[in-house]
């Protein structure tokens, strides 16, 4: 097993331990709610990271898709169409299907135009959330989401939801890692840098990206369902353009294209939310300024930057190696 692989698994183990410890040591419904929020953000960012960080396709739809998941779970359970557990599972399925639908025409577009299409889709979702009042409760939100119940067990406290959320978030990270390390993941990363080269290497770029985008939607769907069942209501506010931008900004700051970037990002969001709880209006300003600085200074984000500092031994050897290679000629 390679060095890097070992370090990643160690990191995941540490994360899992930390999350378990946090769950056990932290007390209070509000605090547990924050931890669930961390898991939700982690899921959102992990999904986004796959399509943005690895495949190189910037998506502005993630916040809207998050909302779609939240409302699907909320509406289906609040209107008693299906039991809450089914609503929970339906959310990622619906969002994945929607993502596939949007992805089909959108992924044929190159780069910036793909991003524009995701922007359009995301904003349309957001606008509909706020205006389909009879369905979604409009700007005031959807109330009356019942407690999630699975096989008689009720997730009636944030504490209970947290364990489910933590398990799902960790699973999400593990799956993402599997994908990235696989032949498919490598192909997607390659295609993100040169599509013609990927094509002549035999990579069916469009199909893989479509599958990835669908998966990304599934992550958002799970995140949405968790959010809904933790808080018991759904409001459209976080699902708009700025929500989408925030996710992108946080991912960029934390390190897109790295395994733990989403973790750092989710932690960053938690930190900001808490530090600025009383001055919520300052948060976007700080994020904006940080982002502007980061774009100009640290293109690979905090996690990537840390990765190079503490794990990039191969990189530092490279200049020496090239001299040797030159001498051998």
């Amino acid at each position: 097993m390679s060095d890097r692989s070992r370090r990643e698994l160690l990191g995941l183990a540490v994360l899992a331990a930390a999350m378990v410890a946090a769950g056990l040591l932290v007390a209070g419904d509000y605090e547990h709610g924050l931890l669930v929020g961390f898991c939700v953000d982690l899921l959102l960012l992990t999904g986004l990271n796959l399509i943005v960080g690895y495949a190189g396709q910037v998506s502005l739809a993630q916040a809207g898709l998050f909302g779609l998941g939240a409302y699907t779970a909320g509406i289906l359970s609040a209107k008693e169409v299906v039991p809450p557990a089914v609503a929970f599972v339906a959310a990622p399925v619906v969002v994945a299907a929607f993502s596939a639908l949007v992805g089909l025409p959108s992924l044929r577009l190159r780069g910036l135009y793909f991003t524009m299409a995701t922007l359009g889709a995301g904003v349309i979702l957001y606008l509909v959330f706020g205006r389909a009042v009879s369905l979604t409760g409009g700007p005031n939100g959807l109330l009356g989401v019942p407690v999630l119940e699975v096989g008689g067990f009720e997730f009636d406290t944030p504490f209970a939801v947290y364990w489910l959320a933590a398990a799902l978030a960790l699973l999400g990270l593990v799956l993402a890692r599997n994908l990235v390390r696989s032949r498919v993941g490598l192909a997607l990363r390659a295609a993100g840098t040169s599509e013609p080269a990927a094509a002549v290497a035999g990579v069916e770029t469009f199909r893989l990206r479509l599958l990835l985008f669908t998966l990304c939607g599934a992550y958002a769907g799970v995140a949405g369902a968790l959010e809904t069942f933790e808080s018991g209501f759904v409001s459209p506010e976080p699902f708009g353009f700025f929500g989408a931008v925030t996710l992108l900004v946080v991912l960029a700051l934390a390190g897109a294209g790295t395994l733990f970037g989403p973790v750092v990002g989710a932690a960053l969001m938690l930190l900001l939310d808490e530090l600025l709880a009383d001055a919520a209006d300052v948060e976007p300003l700080i994020l904006g300024v940080l982002f502007l600085i980061a774009i100009q200074v640290m293109p690979q984000g905090v996690a990537g930057w840390l990765g190079e500092r503490f794990g990039g031994r191969r990189q530092r050897r490279a200049p020496v190696g090239s001299e040797r290679a030159e001498a051998a000629r």
């Binding site: 994908l179 696989s182 040169s194 094509a199």
Partner: protein, 254 residues
């Protein structure tokens, strides 16, 4: 039946005819060179053969099978490989990763199996990695494996695409100006390598500017000028063909 046959290919682009009625045949185990002045349409033809562009008219036949409508990535599994004139490397990835991607079609584990990290998928990827290491070793550059391609010198970088291409075990390859930018000494080394490919039965389509290289290694030369073929035959015949000398060889630094 030739390994690759281009029949009547025409490419019109925004009112401009880049290629007109081009016929070309490449036999297995032979080097078919495609030469011509800049702007003659060589790269467009390369793109059409490899599937990155669709012709306005005409067909591309691979082993007697019509692949004109087949997208580029599917031609790879049918045995087609190609390198680019302007290096198309996967920046940000290591040399080993770059080459490993070339073996993509050899893998069967799909999206789901990769996502769940099933052992079959992991084993497959490890095998591809090993194969990539072997190819790098054969080319004498295994020490470059862990380097990011962005850090390579030009000469080193030039080897990556062929290595990547060989991963898919093609039997028809299009080499687009492989000698571009190489110092004279390296060009003869390249000629040897190209000849070596054909001894394995590969059909090599060599697009080149370097006339001495072409003359030394080609079994057949096709001359493209202004989108049409003006000569097609054995090197000695083409070399003395009036039209060719006038249009190209005379002007080129031979």
């Amino acid at each position: 039946m030739s390994a690759l046959a281009v029949q009547g290919v025409t490419k019109r682009f925004g009112g401009v005819e880049v290629l007109l009625g081009v016929d070309l045949e490449a036999a297995a185990g032979a080097v078919t060179a495609l030469i011509g002045p800049n702007g003659a349409g060589k790269s467009t033809l390369a793109n059409i053969i490899s599937g990155l562009e669709r012709p306005t008219a005409g067909t591309v036949m691979l082993d007697g099978r019509d692949v004109t409508g087949v997208p580029a990535h599917r031609r790879v599994a049918l045995g087609l490989g190609r390198t680019f004139q302007n290096l198309e490397l996967f920046s940000g990835l290591t040399v080993l990763e770059n080459v490993t991607v070339g073996g993509y079609t050899a893998g069967k584990a799909g999206f789901a199996r990769s996502l769940f990290g099933l052992r079959s998928a992991r084993r497959e990827q490890a095998e591809l990695r090993t194969r990539a290491e072997e190819i790098l070793d054969r080319l004498g550059v295994s020490e470059l494996a862990g380097r990011r391609v962005d850090t390579l010198g030009f000469g080193e970088a030039k080897l990556i695409e062929p290595a990547r291409m060989l991963m898919s075990r093609p039997h028809v390859v299009v080499l687009d100006e492989p000698a571009a930018g190489l110092p004279p000494g390296r060009a003869s080394e390249l000629a040897e390598r190209i000849a070596g490919l054909t001894s394995d039965g590969m059909a090599v389509i060599l697009i080149e500017h370097n006339v001495p290289l072409v003359m030394s290694v080609a079994d057949r030369i096709v001359v493209l000028e202004g989108g049409t073929i003006i000569a097609d035959g054995a090197p000695d015949d083409v070399r003395t063909d009036e039209r060719v000398v006038e249009a190209y060889l005379g002007a080129a630094d031979g």
